[in-house]
Amino acid sequence: MRKYILLRCFYSIITLWLLVTIIFAMVRLTGDPVKMKGDVGADKAYLERIRHDWGLDQPLYRQYTSYIGNLLLGDFGHSFEKSLPVRTIYLERLPNSLKLGLAAFVISMVLGVPLGMLSALRVNTWWDNVGKTIALLGLSMPGFFVGLVLIIVFGVQLGWLPVLGKGTSAFIWSNPSTWVPFWFKDWSHLAMPAFALGWYFSGAMLRITRSGMLDVLGSDYIKLVRLKGVPEQVVIAKHALKNSLIPVLTLAGLNLLVMVNVAVVIEVIFNWPGVGQLLYDGLSNRDFPMVQGVVLMSGLMIVLLNFVIDVLYGFVDPRIRLSR
């Protein structure tokens, strides 16, 4: 078992290292960021000073080694476009993305799980078809489409919800009094982007819940419980539900992470100051350290989560525990 964990750990580190290297190489293929700071007519000495500040006048291998070295110390470099350390800016924005992701997650669960269960219980009937179609519809409508329609209908025409950003609440790491209220304020700003984001994933939730329920409902354990004469409601509520939620939760966890990191288009449309917007700004401005930092952080989160899941499975499944 210990070997298994160590192996998984080793693989995760290799994956992360590969990720960093791939991104490092790719951002440098996108062009020269120095010229973007200088205006038409800026003097050469000024541009050279910027290039030196950014470390881009060093040979490539030197840039790479110093970047990796700094990473191990927790220094993600300075943003080219926003002039402050990447870590500071990222940490400032992360709570916003988490707030959006959690809200979208909740919406996707609230929309998807009950409908999925309904589909499973009324499998192959009209309800099931409706459920399956709704799920697919969610997965088929691009997030920006939903977002645009929401803004125009609820924001501009009806005026029910504000259209700008996230409101005034902020999560300030250095100010603990803001830590708790942040999650509960400004829900009106959160409603539309969270719905646009969660809509897509509710389809996935629906399907997973449905197939999980069907698996459980067809299992021997449930047949036994039914034979014992337990009333149907209890069968469903007490036994089927509990067991079918395991795969749901596993994948839900992964979905949450994906939501946090993938909400680029939603954040751009709604002007939501999250890490997705950081990434988009960074890509437009050839802000190497920012792009590298954000991608690395999202990769780190996913790799960590996968590692945890793998280890948990290892504990649960004796085959894995005892395999090579």
Binding site: E81, K82, S83
Partner: protein, 552 residues
């Protein structure tokens, strides 16, 4: 008796001498700091308001770019996008452009340069201090100059011989050689070196700390920021010039036009930039909102590589056809609801030495697609031709598409190249190398201070940093201009160069661009008076900020 008067008169004179001195002193000019003949400088006095009102209300501004904390540091920041927008908020300069004139005394109350431009002297006002109460002295002026790392920093450092601080308020810069453009460049409108930074504070918080939490001597104190998202400023009532009108200014970075529009309409925003394009009709139709046309400069087209023989744009007739194909009247109606003005020149009309393109100096360009087709046929393209890329100024892609449609109607077909703002600027900054090949059309607008000669120097001469034009007749005139010291002759030569550029169709002008700014109902004064905020010359944004007023 006579003896008594003879004695009394000198006594009277002696007794009243101090009074005479005072009278003379009051009417005499201030003693010059520098000796010798002085250069004639045209710097306007500051308008100080003794009545101190209370700042009221909040002004929320929508900046059309994501915010960069680096803009808060005058020692370093680039002037590309927002120029001095934030300098005018938090900091103050020795001399800066104001509604009175391009050079207006600010922190300095008196400036001199020797006639040979080797020395420059400034006298600060008395009683100046920073937001934290620390006095602003020549020590800070010296420190700022020495630690400046922004545009032209090398030039400033190389030319400087030494800085002499005569006292807390008087400072003299000694240069190694004549520095004619010193005041032009030191002016707060052009670079950050004139904006005075508190050395003691900068050293205390460090470079990153200063950008995260800046402090200066300007009308507004920095309160807080979320990097890239918003910045909050609060009025500093002890500002020397006057008490600011608005209490809180919030700047948000909103890159999206529809979001800015929505914000204006819901009342979440009070001032928004860049409202041109498809939403202009909506803006104009909304009774609650007002707008200022804010003309920045003319649009024009350039042809990188036209002087190469294989380029499709090599023949003057082809370029003329391009100009004839564009329906400027219709374009102006579609893009700017008729606010834009078809213009015959490419140089910003606010410059004194620019030719006017409304028919006075240069004709308004003609729209004649039939003639365009004839010219194309004469030039060897009877069925038109395909060129590669049309590169519009970001993000005016709609306008680019409209022009492309016009060109396609006469047979000139191409694709629109959609770039990001930084990508476009990077290409322009590389000049000819930014646009490989010779089948491209570039659409640009380029307001910059310094007169038509500055724009020509960048775009129209062989050595220009963003120039695609290299023509011997222009070079001859330019060389004469650089060598001449006669202002009248210089003016004539500059105008002649502009004429050649238009008549030979090296540049194709389109229309004067209104970079529309919109304000909401809270902005005072109500009605049309708010246009005065845009009075400063050459300013793409409505600074200075301390004169703004909003409803409570």
């Amino acid at each position: 008796m006579r003896k008594g008067i003879l004695v009394l008169v000198p006594v009277l004179i002696l007794v009243s001498a101090p009074a005479w001195e005072k009278l003379l002193a009051a009417t005499a000019k201030p003693t010059p700091i520098l000796s010798g003949p002085l250069a004639k400088l045209d710097i306007k006095d500051a308008a100080i308001e003794t009545a101190r009102g209370k700042p009221k209300g909040k002004l929320t501004i929508a900046q059309h770019f994501a915010l960069d904390p680096g803009w808060l540091d005058p020692l370093e920041h680039s002037y590309v996008l927002t120029q001095q927008h934030y300098d005018y908020l938090v900091h103050d300069a020795m001399i800066k452009p104001m509604p009175q004139g391009e050079f207006t005394y600010s922190l300095a109350e008196h400036a001199e340069m020797t006639a040979d431009f080797t020395k420059a002297a400034f006298r600060l006002r008395s009683g100046l201090k920073f937001h934290d109460g620390h006095p602003l002295t020549t020590q800070d002026v010296k420190w700022t100059y020495e630690n400046y790392k922004g545009v032209n920093f090398k030039l400033f450092h190389d030319k400087l011989q030494r800085i002499e601080m005569m006292d807390d308020r008087t400072i003299i810069f000694h240069f190694k050689e004549p520095f004619v453009e010193f005041l032009d460049l030191y002016n707060g409108g052009l670079s950050g070196i004139g904006w005075i930074v508190a050395g003691h504070y900068y050293k205390k918080v460090g470079r990153d700390g200063f950008k995260a939490n800046p402090m200066g001597a300007g009308p507004y104190k920095f309160v807080s920021q979320e990097a890239g998202v918003q910045m909050v400023f609060e009025a500093w009532e002890e500002y020397w010039r006057r008490s600011p009108g608005v209490k809180t200014i919030v700047v948000k970075g909103i890159t999206d036009l529809t979001t800015r529009m929505a914000g204006l309409q819901t009342g979440e925003l009070d001032l928004a930039y860049g409202m041109t394009g498809k939403l202009l009709p909506r803006l104009m139709a909304d009774r609650n909102l007002r707008w200022d046309p804010n003309f920045t400069g003319p649009w024009w087209l350039m042809f990188p590589g036209y002087n190469e023989a294989e380029s499709q744009f090599h023949d003057k007739r082809v370029r003329q056809a391009v100009s004839l194909a564009i329906n400027r009247q219709f374009l102006v109606k579609q893009e700017t609801q008729g606010i834009g003005i078809p213009w015959g020149n490419w140089v910003n009309q606010e410059n004194r030495d620019a030719l006017r393109g409304d028919g006075k100096d240069l004709p308004v360009p003609e729209y004649n697609p039939e003639k365009a087709k004839q010219l194309l046929a004469q030039a060897g393209f009877p069925n038109g031709f395909d060129f590669e890329w049309y590169v519009p100024f970001v993000p005016y892609f709609d306008m680019g598409e409209r022009i492309l449609a016009d060109l396609r109607a006469v047979g000139i077909r191409g694709k629109l190249q959609v770039l990001e703002g930084p990508g476009f600027r990077a290409k322009m900054a590389q000049g000819r190398k930014g646009y490989p090949g010779n089948r491209t059309i570039v659409q640009n607008v380029g307001p910059r201070p310094g007169g038509a000669k500055a724009e020509i120097g960048v775009y129209a001469v062989c050595g220009g940093s963003a120039s695609f034009v290299c023509e011997p007749p222009i070079e001859k005139l330019w060389a004469k201009h650089q060598a001449s010291v006669d202002l009248g002759e210089r003016d004539r030569l500059i105008k002649a160069i502009q004429r050649i550029l238009i008549e030979e169709y090296y540049f194709v002008p389109i229309y004067l661009n209104p970079f529309v700014h919109a304000v909401g109902p809270r902005v005072l004064p109500e009605g049309k008076g708010f246009h005065r905020y845009w009075d400063t010359l050459h300013a793409p944004y409505p600074w200075p900020w301390e004169i703004w007023e909003v409803k409570d």
